[in-house]
Amino acid sequence: MAKTATKQKTVAMTGNAGCALAMKQINPDVVAAYPITPQTTIVEEFANYVADGVVDTEYINVESEHSAMSACIGASAAGARVMTSTSSQGLALMWEELSIASALRLPIVMQTVNRALSGPINIHCDHSDSMGARDMGWIHLFAETAQEAYDNTIMALKIAEHKDVRLPVMSMHDGFITSHAIDRFEVLDDADVKKFVGDYMPKYSLLYNPNEPVTFGPFAMPAFYYEQRKQLRVAIDGSKEIVMKVTDDFAKLSGRQYGLFEEYRLDDADVAIVVLGSTAGTARYTIDAMRAQGVKVGMLKLRVFRPFPAAELAEALGKVKAVGVMDRSDSAGSLGGPVYTEIKAALYNSKQRPAMQGYVYGLGGRDTGPDQIETVVNDLVKVVKGEESPREAVTLLGVKE
């Protein structure tokens, strides 16, 4: 860890408590949220901050996530700095508002604590909730640890509100595994966070200047709609640069440098696994063990899923001979999980194209231990040695046959 002048405090906290603390330090104007496991402790702790008067936030109690996101959109259009949080079915209930928030270019930040979608009903971790919302025009950040969940929350706000972005951001961490585990991490001073995120002045708003009225959400006929979608596409593609600028600025403040993705022992690797979220930690542990046995394996941990860093991924993965992409969500009826299909597509026109296999794992909180990572690596080694052809069909790891 790089040395910085910034004073930081080492804490023992759950990931959710860290996220609530980040929200407190940001001190948003409006929070509208509805509790749902495993997100509940974020909004519970934040409600305590509101009740204790340590934040100035207008906390809107709503009767559903549909209303939560509607209130966030209204407040954001009015010109407020707005945050919320949800999981699973709660995110699903926000569905029709998600695309409106991005289309109206409202910089709402939402912590999404990843939990499996019903059914059957389940409260544990997988990424099917946020992956289901991948085409909604939001920026998607994934965290491996409580530290990253805390850091991403702060960066998410700055990215969202940046004048060249102005898009909503979802900041993900894994339900229970990260949200409810007590972890050791560093937190910034309130004053440093306040300074980093700065004051928010929206470019357009309903309330800031009554002499310059603005209409949000007008009807768009076919002659107008398509151009708006092109604008959204350009905006989210262009946000990649700002994501990295904010990430680099945050590194100067905190000493913690992140990227669009992290390459772990990938330089001289023959085989690589791609993973996002907490399983990256287990993969790191397993890779160290397998490296000690002479297996040349590395990992690419994706942090920014939207905007999808296709060119950068193609370059990073072009160096290896075989890649196993691990998705903690399935896209039933498609080629495989969403990360797999997109990475495969990203490499299609590359000159250096590794063999690629797709894996689904850990649905509904099924534990993912080093044994499953080893299975993937061993599969890939067989492909590299020519003992097996790359599998066309996706493999569901750890399912009982």
Partner: protein, 192 residues
């Protein structure tokens, strides 16, 4: 697997006995002496009285692994009635340590469970809690037994941390009761 200096603990208790609080307290104590840790309960449909598990990892180095603990070195049982209800030694290391809150001697537990190998520690943490804190909550005395059984930290570090941590929320009487509970369990725990 590579050699990683990592201690893995599994806690067995019933909902309401404070296993999650104990795991948290242990994590915070570890932090106070500069260690790395993870503490995570196994979540399900929680009910007061239902058997639950919680997990703690402690290491001098950052901990990356995030999967659940399948092969704990240390198993702590907060309620003796769980010995019949749950397989508390499942996946446990052959040279692991089992610490049980019970009035029985370690030998009796070994015989009742048909256990070979492993070191068994017993202490009547419920009685100690009743006599020191005035309530039958076994979690803090079990921390004292855990520290004695494993030598994972000096007793003083734990009692210092109990004073510091409880000081924010509880009366002097309760804090000192908890400290005495830790110290008594540390002294009274028996091994075989």
């Amino acid at each position: 697997m590579a050699e990683v200096k990592l201690t893995e603990i599994r806690w067995h208790a019933r909902g309401g006995q404070g296993a999650v609080t104990a795991a948290k307290l242990l994590a915070e104590t570890a932090l106070s002496q500069g260690q790395y840790f993870q503490a995570f309960p196994e979540y399900g449909p929680e009910r007061m009285g239902a058997p639950i598990q919680a997990f703690t990892r402690i290491s001098s180095e950052p901990i990356h692994i995030r999967s659940s603990i399948a092969n704990p070195e240390i198993v702590v049982v907060l309620d003796p009635t769980l010995l019949k209800a749950v397989d508390v030694t499942s996946g446990m290391h052959e040279d692991g340590v089992l610490i049980v809150n019970t009035d029985d001697e370690p030998k009796a537990i070994r015989k009742a469970m048909g256990l070979k190998g492993r070191t068994i520690f017993t202490v009547n943490a419920t009685r100690i809690a009743q006599e020191t804190i005035g309530r039958p909550i076994p979690n803090t005395p079990m921390m004292g037994a855990l520290v004695k059984a494993t030598g994972m930290m000096p007793l003083g570090n734990l009692t210092d941390y109990v004073r510091k941590s409880f000081g924010k929320k509880f009366s002097e009487e309760i804090i000192e009761g908890n400290v005495r509970a830790v110290e008594r369990a540390y002294a009274e725990v028996k091994a075989e």
